[in-house]
Symmetry: C2
Subunit: 147 residues, 2 copies
Amino acid sequence: MEIRLRPIGVVESGLPEEGPRVDRRTFVSTVRIFDEFSAGLKGIEEYSHVFVIWFMDRVKETRITLKPWGLEDMPEVGIFATRFPPRPNPIGLTVAEIVSVEPPRLRLRNLDAWTGSPILDLKPYDVLDIVQRPKMPEWLKRFLKIK
Amino acid sequence: MEIRLRPIGVVESGLPEEGPRVDRRTFVSTVRIFDEFSAGLKGIEEYSHVFVIWFMDRVKETRITLKPWGLEDMPEVGIFATRFPPRPNPIGLTVAEIVSVEPPRLRLRNLDAWTGSPILDLKPYDVLDIVQRPKMPEWLKRFLKIK
């Protein structure tokens, strides 16, 4: 079975692939929704945050297990126990803050997609997406400096 | 541009399409990951919650705008301002609670996918996915009975 999707838009200005590292938490990306779909943005400005489902089109490799960040002192874990890119389906999922909406464009903070990445879907974030105390593995808490 | 994806698994036992309505918040679904990818589950039991990215393969229609739940007293909004199915790319996204992991199967609470739906990806939920007070439109707050 093969599933075929088409981009609904593109990251016009996103994280640079080269050069100095950018802090995604403050960086503002511009996403353009293609004209045939841009009426689908109507009312999205009533939300503060949106899930961006995008396609990591530069990923050429698939890993089923890996050590997070390639670090030797990390445990070997399955790809579905991580958010790393070399997945069987390289779908990106990011919670982004809506900075402004001027159809067909949105400006979004915290998106970690490169310029040119295809957008597959946008879904508003709502209270049902909040998990108050999610359990996470020790290796991730160590990285995020969480007790 | 066309994007081709392949299922990594299937909802073996999910919400029934017919019969009495089931409360998804308590219903436990079984997802089976295909053998070639099942090692990718290693360590996923260290998380309490996971994003399930699935394909709404029964959606035959695309809407760019709609009235939520088809109700006349709702405003007309864009599809990307809702989570409703008739999207240009009918990708489902659900935060599910991990009940148990016995590879190649997971039991998940709160998944709103029908039996037989293809699974595209699993991504663990972490603290960076929490938005403490997301802004939402009045029509959604009215539905969720939130002030």
